[in-house]
Amino acid sequence: MKFTKINRNYYGYFFIAPFIIAFLIFGLYPLYNTLSLSLTDYTLMTRKGEYIGLQNFTVLFADQLFLKALGNTWLIWLLNFIPQIGVALLLSAWFTNNRLKIKGVGIWRAIFYLPNLLIPVVIAALFNSFFSFYGPINQFLVRVGYQVEAVHYLQNVEITRAVVIFIQWWMWFGQTIIIVMAGMTSIPVHLYEAAMVDGASAAQMFRRITLPLLKPILIFIFVTSLVGGMQMFDIPYLLTDGRGAPSNSIMTNNILMYMKFASSRGHIGAASAVAVLTFIMTTICALGIFFVLRDKDDTVSSKPKRSWFTKKSETK
């Protein structure tokens, strides 16, 4: 009797234990370790560090390169995220639309998702060779007569950034489509049917039904993409010289962090400071997104049916 009682009380803990243990070891401890390292002048080549307070951070804020990396990271993320979510919403709306009845949705979705399966190294090497001085793009544009002579595309700040943005968009919009479509198909069809009976246009249905009910999904996409975007590393690192060339224009927070870590002495304290600032910034922004997109009247998600009707009656 007593035995079963214990069992019943502790079952839950057993079930969540794997996650909690993994989180403590791989989540919380590294975070704590990074925080404590960021307050030292620890380097890999000396293997000793002393507590230096916030000096790493003051150096960082005086560092032109850090401010530039910060700006680059935001710019590249925003310019890739906005079209990404836009295209994903549009295509998902078409794919799930009952009137359009697009054939082979699964195939399209798979095709859009494919770039995500490629290894970033391969994609970066491919684009680097496409845009190189003797590469196919130069050869084609000159022979067609569009360009007078070959140019160093990846020496141009705007073009290089555009290439990074395009690759990020191209790699990730398929993923976003899958999530958005999952969200859209979970919206009850009878809402749309009722709206159609009432004579709502497709645009009205999208704005009044789809978007409000999709909000939790959108918040999820927003936050995961923000976290990913602030940690952008592989494509910009591999596309040019691994140091943000040209003119540090594709240097992101993580490339800077890696440069400090991989510098001749391995300034792991300074690298941790970059990581801590990225963490703080991402956390604040993610909380901001939750705050801005929160359910203000708390009825939309819990009772979708009623909110639809009340809103509709308001507009009439």
Partner: protein, 481 residues
């Protein structure tokens, strides 16, 4: 029907998950030798030669598979030793990062190969063992003083090299005959004896045929210019911008603006294509490259493998500037559990007359290595011609290259003789541990300036900003005007 389809689908899914798991694991297992697996236990047996079943394990890390050849030869001489060789590429610093991360862990290698770009970092730090007791061997073999100097910091020698890497200037005999009127090495050397006359030759070649470029990229002259500085990059905690650095930037701009270079980045496809006349401009015209600045190792590893059927049409001279470039040093980690064996290995690789002679004269063929270790890959071997660090060996084997395939490839020139004349001029004191970061930052800003994206003042500023960011304690001078 429906059910079987589901079964097939779910099987496919499981298969793809297994495959995905394998794919994720691949990068870690791509190293030829598997590290770990109880090697620590067996290596504790230490110095005494254990003839029983257990072999002594020596973990060697490198960034190319060159040293694997010598590791197999070492195993041939020491049958009770198992050298576990791991290759990690260093294109973007992965190799250096990997060693730094391994320090203090059970995975720490016993012996590491260190490239010229970062050997000083390690020699200046405390992780390499003091190999001073091998110095008598170096004296005996008359290792080039610059080679030992690079491996020495504050009087402690921690790394040795099997190579000396004086640089040379390789040019195409056919283009020289067509445009300069002679292909004789002595006469061409007289024409390109300094940078000014080199620029005149570049203009002559351009006038001779607009589809000929004098060099692949002016980036090839970065090392030659830097090798002629009066001071290293860092002196007493301050960055030194030597006049040679400014001279190089002006030179590179001139080369770009006048169209003397093919503009293919070093190590890019186009750069290699110029070595075998397969370079085609965007205008559809075939282009030719007159010359390449490459050091000793550049001949067997870079130029010849990429030269296609242009062999025999090349010649080598000292060129406008004496320089050295690259080279691989070998050191033992102080943490090594097998320090005696590690020292023995370093001595074999860099300070063993027999090994160096075999290395340079092409004894280590694939068959030779397969006889020792049948599992070795088919391509693994060492062709004749690498320039070794010992003057004793160099003097003994120089004449053996007369009439060799290399001799024929150079249109009847003994490359060993030419390198042996250049090697003593090399200055080993210019290397410092911070060179790599400083130079890569300068190259990035330079490319922007050469391409006309930024002006010269911005270039200096951009470079110094990056240096300041990487070395916050360094005193940075005012940028040049």
């Amino acid at each position: 029907m429906r059910k079987s389809l589901l079964t097939i689908l779910s099987l496919l899914m499981i298969a793809s998950m297994v495959l995905a798991a394998c794919g994720g694991g691949a990068p870690e297992t791509d190293a030829p030798a598997d590290s770990g697996s109880g090697s620590g236990g067996s290596s504790d047996s230490g110095g005494s030669a254990s003839t029983g079943g257990e072999k002594q394990v020596l973990k060697v890390w490198s960034f190319t598979n060159e040293i694997l050849t010598m590791a197999v030869a070492f195993e041939g001489q020491n049958p009770d030793v198992d050298v576990q060789f791991t290759m990690i590429p260093m294109d973007a610093g992965e190799y250096q990062t990997k060693i730094k991360a391994a320090i203090g862990t059970a995975d720490v290698p016993d012996v590491v190969a260190l490239e010229a770009a970062f050997v000083k970092e390690w020699v200046e730090a405390d992780f390499l063992a003091d190999l001073g007791d091998l110095l008598p061997l170096a004296e005996e073999l008359q290792t080039y003083p610059s080679v030992v100097e690079v491996g020495t910091h504050e009087g402690v020698t921690k790394a040795y090299s099997y190579q000396a890497t004086p640089g040379a200037f390789f040019y195409r005999r056919s283009i020289a005959t067509e445009c300069l009127g002679t292909d004789d090495p002595a006469e061409v050397q007289a024409l390109v004896n300094d940078i000014e006359s080199f620029l005149e030759v570049a203009e002559t070649i351009k006038q001779c045929n607009p589809n000929y470029f004098t060099v692949g990229t002016s980036g090839e002259l970065f090392n030659p210019f830097l090798a002629n500085r009066a001071q290293p990059w860092i002196v007493d905690g301050a960055l030194v911008i030597d006049p040679q650095v400014e001279a190089y930037i002006d030179f590179a701009k001139l080369m770009r603006d006048n169209g003397y270079e093919s503009q293919a980045n070093q190590w890019s496809e186009g750069w290699f294509a110029g070595m075998n006349d397969s370079l085609v401009g965007a205008d559809g015209q075939p282009k030719k490259v007159f010359s390449y600045f490459l050091p000793t190792w550049g001949l067997p590893y870079v130029l010849i493998p990429n030269s296609g059927d242009t062999g025999g049409d090349w010649a080598m001279i000292n060129g406008p500037l004496a320089y050295q470039w690259g080279g691989t040093w070998v050191g033992a980690m102080a943490d090594s559990k097998n320090l005696d064996l590690a020292k023995q290995f370093v001595a074999f690789v860099a300070l063993n007359e027999e090994n160096l002679t075999n290395w340079a004269t092409g004894v280590y063929t694939n068959e030779y290595l397969k006889a020792i270790d049948p599992t070795i890959a088919d391509g693994q071997s060492q062709a004749a011609g690498d320039f070794v660090s010992s003057q004793v060996v160099v003097e003994k084997i120089t004449s053996s290259f007369d009439g060799s395939p290399l001799y024929e490839w150079l249109g009847g020139q003994n490359n060993y003789e030419a390198f042996s004349l250049a090697a003593p001029n090399v200055n080993g004191a210019l290397l410092t541990g911070s060179d790599d970061a400083i130079q890569r930052a300068l190259q990035s800003a330079r490319d922007q300036y050469l391409n006309g994206e930024i002006d010269k003042a911005t270039m200096w500023k951009q470079w110094l900003d990056v240096v300041r960011s990487e070395f916050p304690d360094l005193v940075i001078p005012e940028p040049p005007q």
